[in-house]
């Protein structure tokens, strides 16, 4: 079986063409990044604001708990068979819209919970000192809270990235877009080598994304925070695997 997978991976024709692995890889990356961008642009600011004013904590924390109990697969099925349909959406492929909505839904919990907790848990003494120095609410948020909260915020975004990539793979179970198609078509046609080849590519890209986002996280984390407590704080909210 491993030999079959190797043969599939090393045959260039499996990578090229309109349903080749490169095209599917590009499609899945595009889906992943679009969904993450939508979440970060629209939901993260709200979570940060709630953390700043200290309201809505119950919702911000519980969204993660609820998110864990809801099966991604079921959401994808409900969206594609029902309310949204499986029409092709431009470069996003068949059932593109249903997949995008499901991906945004599953990116929300880690981004929102970590965003809220990050700002909320900034040392209150520091915030008071900043206010005492005459900073406005906006200045406190922008110059004090945001930089200090950055490691935990980024941990949430990183978690979301890996989770969204994984969810995008499952879209193939509803005949949606992405690399999961290589896995499902391998399994449905008793071509386990092909299924395994697809699995390797998906897992390898997940690993690369994780490594890249750890690098990006380092870049945006202020130097003095890297040593003290950096490794502990981001682990506060671990969400479900998909």
């Amino acid at each position: 079986m491993l030999g079959d997978a190797w043969n599939y991976l090393t045959q260039w024709s499996n990578w090229t063409g309109s349903d080749g692995m490169l095209e599917l890889l590009y499609q899945q990356l595009l889906l992943t990044l679009t969904a993450l961008a939508i979440t970060v642009v629209f939901a993260l600011p709200i979570a940060l604001y709630l953390g700043h004013v200290g309201r809505g904590g119950f919702l911000a924390i519980n969204i993660s708990n609820i998110g864990r109990a809801i099966p991604t697969f079921a959401v994808l099925v409900l969206l594609s068979v029902g309310f949204v349909g499986t029409d092709t959406l431009g470069p996003y492929g068949r059932a593109g819209l249903a997949t995008l909505i499901a991906l945004v839904l599953f990116a929300l919990p880690p981004v929102v919970t970590n965003g809220y907790v990050a700002v909320r848990e900034v040392d209150k003494d520091i915030v008071e000192a900043s206010t005492g120095m005459g900073m406005t609410g906006w200045q406190v948020f922008w110059r004090v809270e945001l930089p200090l909260a950055m490691p935990v915020i980024m941990a949430g975004v990183r978690l979301a990235l890996v989770q969204v990539w994984a969810t995008a793979t499952i879209a193939a179970l509803v005949a949606g877009p992405g690399l999961g198609n290589v896995i499902t078509s391998g399994f449905y046609n008793s071509n386990l080598g092909k299924g395994l080849a697809g699995a390797f590519v998906v897992a390898a890209v997940a690993f690369v994304l994780e490594m890249l986002s750890i690098g990006a996280e380092r870049l945006v984390t202020p130097v003095h925070q890297r040593r003290s407590g950096r490794t502990e704080a981001p682990r506060k909210t671990v969400s479900a695997a998909v």
């Binding site: 079986m1 491993l2 708990n65 864990r68 109990a69 809801i70 099966p71 991604t72 697969f73 079921a74 099925v77 409900l78 594609s80 068979v81 029902g82 890996v162 990539w165 994984a166 793979t169 499952i170 193939a172 179970l173 509803v174 005949a175 999961g180 896995i183 499902t184 391998g186 399994f187 386990l192 299924g195 395994l196 697809g198 699995a199 390797f200 998906v202 897992a203 997940a206 690993f207 994780e210 682990r235 671990v238 479900a240 695997a241 998909v242």
Partner: protein, 240 residues
């Protein structure tokens, strides 16, 4: 006459073919589907429950010693935590096919995969729980003559229990959700109904499987909460 005839056919059709899940109406919510296919639903739920419970128990059996080792040997801690977190980055739809190489298309494949995923949360929470035991308590116990094994079993584990149980609840709930993906290797409990439903555009089946899946997660969560309540009587005495 014609009108009567048509009405008669309609009634006959309704009697033969429960209308709300026939191909023509295809309703989401359909009571007669739940009644007629109750044995399918019960079988799928039982398989789902079995896979989830065995996976989480297996995960717990692996996670507890891992956490204890990480606690004892500080040098191994980063490695153990890193390993259990790295597993979690592998998408489930990719992990199951990779495990098929070793265990074939069996329920074991799904159970091993899910147990590996549960490690991320279980190892971390067990370690956090053990580390949160106050040093004073540990020293008092040592002073009273507790050896390291007895200290672990009689003092540290009971005190860490609330945190371990919190991890167990999270792991159980996410395992229920993740079991559905096992449908790719034909052992996915309610996930198989979802897959069948999407392939046949069968809305009543999809809805029933989704509802049962969320209900199962909720039920297990409540049961674990009750178990925790029974196992930690001292936390209640303090609160009262």
């Amino acid at each position: 006459m014609t009108v009567l005839g048509q009405a008669g056919t309609a009634v006959a059709a309704a009697a033969d073919d429960p209308s709300c899940y026939s191909r023509f109406t295809n309703n989401w919510v359909c009571v007669s589907y739940w009644q007629d296919r109750s044995s399918d639903l019960i079988d799928a739920t039982q398989e789902h429950l079995q896979i989830t419970v065995v996976s989480v128990l297996l995960g717990l059996v692996i996670a507890l010693p891992m956490a204890v080792i990480a606690r004892r040997f500080a040098r191994l801690k980063a490695g153990i935590l890193g390993l259990s977190t790295a597993l979690y980055t592998i998408p489930s739809l990719a992990l199951f096919p990779i495990l098929v190489v070793f265990t074939g298309i069996t329920m074991t494949t799904v159970i091993i995969g899910l147990a590996l995923y549960s490690l991320t949360i279980l190892v971390r929470n067990t370690l956090t729980g053990l580390e949160a035991v106050p040093d004073d308590v540990r020293e008092s116990a040592t002073g009273l003559g507790y050896g390291s094994t007895r200290l672990l079993l009689k003092i540290e584990f009971p005190l860490a229990l609330p945190v371990i149980m919190a991890g167990l609840r999270v792991a159980t709930v996410s395992t229920v959700a993740l079991t559905t993906v096992g449908a790719i290797v034909s052992y996915g409990g309610l996930g198989e109904l979802l897959l069948d439903g999407v392939n046949n555009d069968f809305k009543a089946e999809i809805f029933a499987a989704s509802v049962l899946c969320v209900a199962l997660a909720f039920t297990l969560d409540v049961l674990l909460l009750a178990l925790q309540w029974l196992m930690t009587p001292w936390t209640r005495a303090r609160g009262a």
